[in-house]
Structures are given as structure tokens and as C-alpha cells.
């Protein structure tokens, strides 16, 4: 298999993971698909810039995030960051109901709602590290920021997630 074919085959293996992140970033199914397609178009166009032997998965996620910031974030109209970097207001709810029982669907809904309220700068490193399993060094490369910043953002994102989930729990209790 030629290096180009290897590159293409390996790139295809990350499609599901890229789409998953795209869904949580765009909160819109068709935009997520557009974003993923555009990511692969760019990856192919700039494949000569990819250094063989380095982490293709992280490179693809970096392209996806950069493309999202360029094309889609303006539409997102996220509230401006407050001092702690987290907007006060809630974002619109987004949920593709999974085919599971009602109880776990409710938990999923709350998790998704809480996640949707996080700004991209917090949501992306949290998902990359905790859901996709990237090491912090790779997350830092994808986010184009120091590892310390990534750690701090993940910590704050989790802290905020806990608060949101607690709020939702209390809402239901009331």
C-alpha cells in the first residue's frame, strides 16, 4: 500500500470520532456533516503538509476545529465569555434522543444540555480529553495553546458541568 493510500485509509478510520465532535460543536446535524466533509477536503488538499509518522488523528481534529472556528462559529453566536470564561446564559437545547430507556435518556439530555452551555474553548478540550481520550499534549496541539491552559480549561469545564447538572437535578426535584 502506498503512503497516500495508507493516509486515506487511516483518515477514514477517524470519521465517526470527527463526526461526534462536529455534532457537539455545531449542535446541528447537517452542519456537522458539512463540517466533517470540509475537514476531509482540507486534509486532502493539505495532505502534503502532514508529517508522516506523526499523529494523523490529532491533525484531523485540529483541522476540524480550525474549520469550525472559521466557517461555523460566527453562526453559532455564542455569548461573549464572562470573566471566568463561561457564559452565564444557557444555550439552546440540543438532543438527538438515543434509543434507550427513558431514565437514561433524561440523564443523557441533561449531560447534553450541560455540555451545550459550555463555550467552545471549554467544550472542545473536555471532549477531546475525556471522550476521545487524547493526551493533554495532543489536546494542547489541537487547541493551539499551552498544556497548562488546557488543564485549566478542562478543570473549569468540569466544575461548570457539575453546577449545571446539579441545577437540572434540583429543577426536576422541584
Amino acid at each position: 500500500m502506498s503512503p497516500e493510500e495508507e493516509f486515506r485509509q487511516e483518515a477514514l478510520q477517524h470519521l465517526d470520532a470527527l463526526h461526534n465532535l462536529a455534532v457537539y460543536l455545531t449542535r446541528n446535524g447537517s452542519e456537522a456533516q458539512d463540517l466533517v466533509q470540509e475537514t476531509y477536503v482540507r486534509a486532502m488538499r493539505f495532505s502534503h503538509r502532514f508529517e508522516r509518522g506523526t499523529h494523523l488523528r490529532a491533525w484531523l481534529f485540529q483541522i476540524l476545529r480550525n474549520t469550525f472556528l472559521t466557517f461555523y462559529r460566527l453562526r453559532e453566536r455564542e455569548p461573549a465569555l464572562s470573566e471566568d470564561g463561561v457564559p452565564a446564559g444557557g444555550a439552546p437545547m440540543f438532543h438527538d434522543a438515543p434509543d434507550q430507556d427513558g431514565a437514561s435518556t433524561e440523564v443523557h439530555t441533561d449531560l447534553e444540555r450541560a455540555l451545550a452551555r459550555l463555550p467552545e474553548e471549554f467544550k472542545t478540550p473536555l471532549l477531546l480529553a475525556e471522550v476521545e481520550g487524547f493526551p493533554l499534549e495532543d489536546v494542547a496541539r489541537i487547541m493551539d495553546c499551552p498544556v497548562g491552559t488546557v488543564k485549566s480549561r478542562i478543570f473549569r469545564a468540569k466544575e461548570r458541568m457539575r453546577e449545571y447538572l446539579k441545577d437540572y437535578g434540583q429543577e426536576r426535584k422541584a
Binding site: 458539512d34 486532502m44 488538499r45 468540569k158
Partner: protein, 239 residues
């Protein structure tokens, strides 16, 4: 069931575990997988492309023949030919072709763009794919006045088709008369056979936005679309 407050994850690892175990994953749907395969392995679809391009090629040939016939009858009457008018008429024909022949496939447009760029010779560094008002629904290589170019088809939320044609300018000057200030640009606005056109130059390429939006309000809308495509599409310079 929703977690009780006391059941909520109390430390960082707990939140991470919740996300890993309970956050739904969204695998790529089959149509996206197919589109990405076309991007990564274009050779797989080559036989299909050959047939898919037969109809548009025939249409382009027919258009070219009609243009030749039209020019042959029109030249003696017109006398000196206005190159912008010629291009405008050709672009209107192209717009009509896009309307009649082109399939609207917004889902496959991003994946099709590399091929369209290769076949048209027009390179887009960035492209306006749409917003809440108007959306990119088609991309095709084209021939206008003997030049290879690209047509991008947009559809607005009211169903109006807008075609954005990009061809090498071939040194055609844009006359001062008819220019209007729109945002920070001064393109040319023309009316041709019941269609409105906005014509400008960008990095050695001639760009035309054409639509059947002709009333005063509609032209204002077309100007808005112009600002969107002009500011959010970046062409690669032609040398």
C-alpha cells in the same frame, strides 16, 4: 432518571466518567461516509463521474453552439461589441443552464468542490457555503465566452436561485458607468434579459452574481448576497 443532587459526580474523574459512559456518541451517517469516501478515494467513483458529466457536457456544447449562432446574427446589428454585455449574456445563459440542468445537492457540494476546482481551473481558498438566508446548493465547472470557469449555485430561503460565476477576466475592463458602492466595494450592476447581475473583479478573475431578483427590493437583497459571497469567498490569484 435524573441524578439527584447528592448523586452528582463530586470530583473531576467522575464527570469524565459520566461523559465517557453516558454521553451519546454520534457515528457518521451512511451518506456522510459515502461523501467522505468520494473525497478520499475519488478514483472509486470515476466511472460514475464519466456518465454523470455527459448531460452537462452536452448542455454546455449546446449552449456554446447557441451562443455562436446568436453572435453570428447579432454582430452586424451591434457593430462594436461590448465585452461586458457579451459576458453578461453568457452568464445569464449559464444561470439558466444551472436552473434547468443542475441538481441541487447541498450535501455533496463540499465534497465535490475539489473536483470542480480541478476541472474549472478556479481555486477557492475559502467559499461562502451559506447562512440562514441563502445556501450553497451546487457547484459546477462551466465555459463562459470560451473561458473555463466555475458556477456556484445558491438558493435563498424564499426559493430564489442565485448563480455565482467565476471566470478568468481575460483583461476585460470594468466600465466606470454603472458602478455602485456596496459595503466597501464598487461593483458594476447590470440588467440583462430580465435578470440582475453584479459584476466585479477579484484577483484577476471576473466574478458575476446573477439572479432573477429584479425589483428594487430584490436588487437590495441581491446586494446583500453579494456582500456575503464577496467577503466570505477567497479566490486564489490567477497569474
Amino acid at each position: 432518571m435524573c441524578p439527584e443532587p447528592q448523586d452528582l459526580p463530586g470530583d473531576d474523574p467522575e464527570v469524565g466518567r459520566w461523559l465517557r459512559e453516558r454521553l451519546p456518541r454520534h457515528p457518521a451517517p451512511p451518506q456522510l461516509r459515502a461523501a467522505v469516501r468520494r473525497v478520499l478515494m475519488p478514483e472509486e467513483g470515476k466511472p460514475r463521474w464519466r456518465w454523470a458529466w455527459l448531460a452537462p457536457s452536452v448542455a454546455a456544447l449546446a449552449t456554446a453552439m447557441l451562443m455562436v449562432m446568436w453572435m453570428a446574427t447579432g454582430l452586424p446589428v451591434i457593430g462594436s461589441v461590448d465585452p461586458i454585455q457579451q459576458i453578461s449574456r453568457a452568464v445569464v445563459t449559464e444561470h439558466a443552464r444551472m436552473l434547468s440542468w443542475a441538481q441541487r445537492e447541498p450535501d455533496v457540494v463540499p465534497a465535490a468542490l475539489p473536483r470542480v476546482m480541478e476541472e474549472s481551473g478556479v481555486i477557492l481558498n475559502w467559499v461562502f457555503t451559506g447562512d440562514e438566508q441563502i445556501r450553497l446548493v451546487n457547484a459546477q465547472p462551466t465555459y463562459v465566452e470560451g473561458h473555463r470557469g466555475m458556477s456556484l449555485g445558491y438558493m435563498d430561503r424564499d426559493g430564489h436561485a442565485v448563480t455565482y460565476v467565476i471566470v478568468p477576466s481575460g483583461g476585460v475592463p470594468l466600465p466606470e458607468q454603472g458602478r455602485v458602492q456596496i459595503d466597501r466595494w464598487r461593483p458594476l450592476i447590470r440588467r440583462e434579459n430580465g435578470f440582475s447581475l453584479i459584476v466585479w473583479k477579484d484577483k484577476g478573475l471576473l466574478c458575476v452574481l446573477v439572479s432573477a431578483l429584479v425589483s428594487e427590493d430584490d436588487v437590495a437583497r441581491l446586494k446583500e448576497y453579494f456582500v456575503k459571497v464577496r467577503s466570505q469567498t477567497e479566490l486564489s490569484p490567477v497569474f
